[in-house]
Symmetry: C2
Subunit: 190 residues, 2 copies
């Protein structure tokens, strides 16, 4: 009974600390609430919950529904809560995230300028959309979760997204301008 390592099982414990959920619920939560900084697929969630149950960190209760399929509701046990708290205390291991956009831009000399511009432009659109989503989510949270002790923490994660997207947006604008400059310099020389 190891249950060490990966953050996935710990993420599951964290989500179950909010309320008892099924694997399906968890998937919804991940893509809706924490989708801007986390992801989990069914292939991780269902086997993960099974392992957590075997380790006694979560409890499974099957909810039978007429018409609708059965739901396996998982809830955190005392051991599970303890485990979650221990994990939360462990310093975050910062690994350099791979960034395919930067990799392609790094080799940008090999392609037409329009290609590089396209990459940056679509990244720009991505972060423009993201900013709108963050703002909408923050508004909704402040309305629906006023008085929820989680609120300030949740807003912090949204703020991270805001700062990040705003910065990248600025970089995109600057970079597009620079790409134009490179092109016009190249043309002038011809």
């Amino acid at each position: 009974m190891k249950m060490e390592g990966g953050s996935t099982p710990n993420a599951l414990l964290g989500l179950l600390s909010l309320r008892p959920m099924s694997g399906y619920d968890i998937r919804q939560m991940v893509s809706r609430s924490i989708g801007h900084f986390w992801s989990e697929s069914y292939g991780q969630i269902y086997p993960g919950l099974k392992r957590l149950a075997a380790a006694g960190l979560v409890e499974k209760k099957t909810e039978r529904n007429k018409g609708k399929p059965d739901r396996n509701l998982y809830s955190l046990t005392a051991d599970g809560r303890e485990r979650l708290q221990e994990w939360l205390k462990i310093p975050v291991a910062e690994e350099t995230a791979r960034n395919e956009l930067l990799l392609k831009l790094f080799f940008g000399v090999h392609v037409a300028m329009s290609v590089n511009r396209e990459h940056v432009a679509s990244n720009m659109e991505f972060h423009q959309r993201a900013l709108k989503v963050y703002t909408a989510m923050a508004k909704q949270l402040r309305r629906d979760k006023a008085n929820d002790p989680n609120l300030p923490y949740w807003l912090m994660t949204l703020n991270y997204g805001r700062h990040h997207s705003a910065a990248i947006l600025k970089w995109c604008r600057e970079t597009l301008a620079e790409l134009d400059e490179i092109e016009s310099k190249g043309k002038r020389r011809k």
Copy 2:
């Protein structure tokens, strides 16, 4: 002969477009030049080069050295260069990167405030160091690679890092202040 998918083989082609290199050289390059947005381990590099050679995208030449061990120098073939260019044109797939710091902060209500503060503080230090590194690298590049057609592109990737780290730094400062506020509010109520 598939050679589709993953960006790793394409990253290898890109690096070999700069100059012929050995697997060892590539590892050095990755950790020194593009380490702030990419990573590759030997376990990926050596088998990857072998597969690229089998597909005719790179060529291997063994360089025998007295005293020192042999070096397997790989260089890009015409096919390899073409493949690289094709890949560079493919739009970047943006996937949400997992962020363990945000995940832990999201569940911050479960632990003592000092724990959350520590996470944010060490992230702050990380980005402070990163900013210095980016600045030093940009300076060095401008000196060593003036006239290199790659220079503007390489500076763009460094600029991304600058914008990103500066933004996260700002977020860290704001977040530390907010954490202090939550704590003092909690104490006032007692």
